[in-house]
Symmetry: C2
């Protein structure tokens, strides 16, 4: 060993203490989780070129064959607002249901709910945003009004044997207002719980979630409503979507929403990523020993097909690199030195 | 609440047990970590268009201004093998050093080391691959021969006041051979330790690391050599590079290698991502309360500049989306419903 003339910041850091950020919470991972595939709704909705109804249904059917059991399959929104999803009714008709498959649909208002109730949907997803500015942009009304609308929808659904899920957009931060007061999330979450919803999704609409926020939010909501099912919907807009999933797993959450091939962007950041990618998520879960019931190779095939349909490079990594033991011919391409 | 005709797999999963994967290791995070910026070496080396020497130095200087203190700045490799780095000597001359800055350089052999010793480098990085096939591809010799070469290099460096770091490529998996026996990593790591190296980097050369592998590998090496500094060099080829960083943090590792803007690809997966992205990593660390000493906004500016220099879209997310509290005008763009 020799001395080094340069100040040795590296080894100082290396020898640094590891105090400070003690974690007091769960340190086990779930054995099994549910993945809710949202690509054909959240992923597709911003695509301007219409994807044929048969293609949408074929992708959903291929995903069911790959083991996916829960979907946000389409939306009963105004065809003028989202022309891509104007075929909601027909798409659902063409899906080959089988035992255990849950076809969820988004419904923004009573009219959407009515249409959904006349469809083959198994679950209706009702949403609002946690902040006034985002809710006004998205639903053109104050949060208070949306909460009343949801009460009416709950009444409308009262005698129907359909699952109902609430979704809270910008739950981890708002692109207009920044940090969102946890009390707002607790209030909205409690509203869904009181109205008998089966689950609530926390939407990380523009990718502002962080591990600390995930932990704090999940723990606070679970303390208030221990029996209520929480689903986490992360975007990878800032590159840490899967880190947030792992924090969710550590906090005991067993339901995650993701999009095939990572389809879907962020309206506030051109070129940035939107939804976390389903096959990358399944790969991670597989490697952590958490069962999703989904066959990774089959899923990658569907993702590659979707990329062909969309006609441009999508964010998913696994469909480019393959699973980790997808080996290469020793006589093949070589990297540069190092 | 109503019954649902469809089998309710979702709530079965949700109610599932959370047993199984007990973790027995450290549950605190380091207060501070070191980031080793490798973009101007590992990132640039596969770029076919030569980046002018002044531009390389300007980027390094801007990174120093942003707070980066440790670099793998260039490589003393054959100019025929990697023409992009033929200006190693000149680049180092143009860097404005300041207290605490460590300029590391890669040296593949004795000749490279000689050249490095005549340069302004503060640290020499000597490498080999953990598997025979990858080492043959990369260095054209068996691992045994590379271990002897490293002994000679250690002898060559004996009276020089320069830091020396060992790097083990394909430490978490080999694209030709798959899983790598941990005993091989332990043997090579021990070799560097016995020869008095200051640190060893574990290279995830083609993005095959997983949280479990990271944990197992770090714990095994630390058990053998508690005083030896470990650095982790992850690629994001399969989308989980930052998840692996978090597992490294949980295992107490305080040094991470990354590349500005995520520059650098994977020779085995066209279009796939290579090195994890420095500014995305700094964002994550900031949000987890782990200090890297780097100013995120300044770093993003340098990343955007690098993207302009390279002239194509690079993988970094933060430079597209901005930090999470980079707010948007309420009158601005809106997302589609939901």
């Amino acid at each position: 060993m020799t001395d080094n003339a340069a100040p040795d910041i590296a080894s100082q850091v290396s020898a640094g203490t590891r105090s400070g950020h003690q974690e007091t919470s769960a340190v086990s991972l779930p054995d099994r989780v549910e993945i809710v595939e949202v690509g054909m709704r959240d992923g597709l909705q911003i695509e301007s070129e219409f994807v044929p109804t048969d293609t949408k249904a074929e992708i959903l059917n291929a995903l069911i064959d790959a083991g996916v059991r829960h979907f946000e399959a389409t939306s009963f929104v105004s065809p003028r607002a989202v022309p891509q999803l104007r075929d909601a009714q027909e798409v659902l008709e063409k899906v080959h249901k089988r035992a255990g498959v849950v076809l969820g649909v988004l419904a923004p208002n009573r009219k959407g709910v009515e249409n959904a109730l006349r469809s083959k949907a198994d679950e209706i997803v009702v949403f609002l945003s946690a902040t006034e500015s985002h809710n006004t942009k998205n639903l053109n009304r104050p949060v208070e009004q949306s909460l009343r609308d949801i009460e009416e929808i709950a009444e409308q659904l009262k005698d129907h044997p359909i699952k109902r899920k609430g979704a809270i957009a910008v739950a981890f931060g708002c692109p207009f207002e920044g940090d969102v007061d946890l009390e707002r999330i607790k209030t909205i979450f409690g509203h869904f719980a009181r109205l008998g919803f089966d689950a609530v999704t926390l939407g990380d609409t523009t990718g502002m979630a962080t591990p600390r926020l995930v932990r704090r939010t999940v723990e606070a909501l679970r303390a208030d409503h221990p029996g209520m099912k929480i689903s986490l919907h992360f975007h990878n807009t800032r590159g840490i979507g899967l880190v947030n999933v792992v924090e969710g797993l550590r906090a005991g959450v067993t339901s995650y929403e993701s999009s095939l091939a990572g389809l879907g962007g962020c309206p506030f950041a051109p070129g940035a990523t939107g939804n976390i990618c389903t096959e990358d998520l399944v790969y991670l879960l597989d490697e952590m020993g958490v069962d999703s019931g989904i066959d990774l190779r089959a899923l990658i095939n569907v993702a590659q097909r979707l990329e062909n349909v969309i006609g441009r490079n999508l964010p998913g990594q696994l469909m480019k690199a393959g699973p980790r033991l997808h080996l290469h011919d020793y006589g093949g391409a070589v990297g540069a030195v190092g």
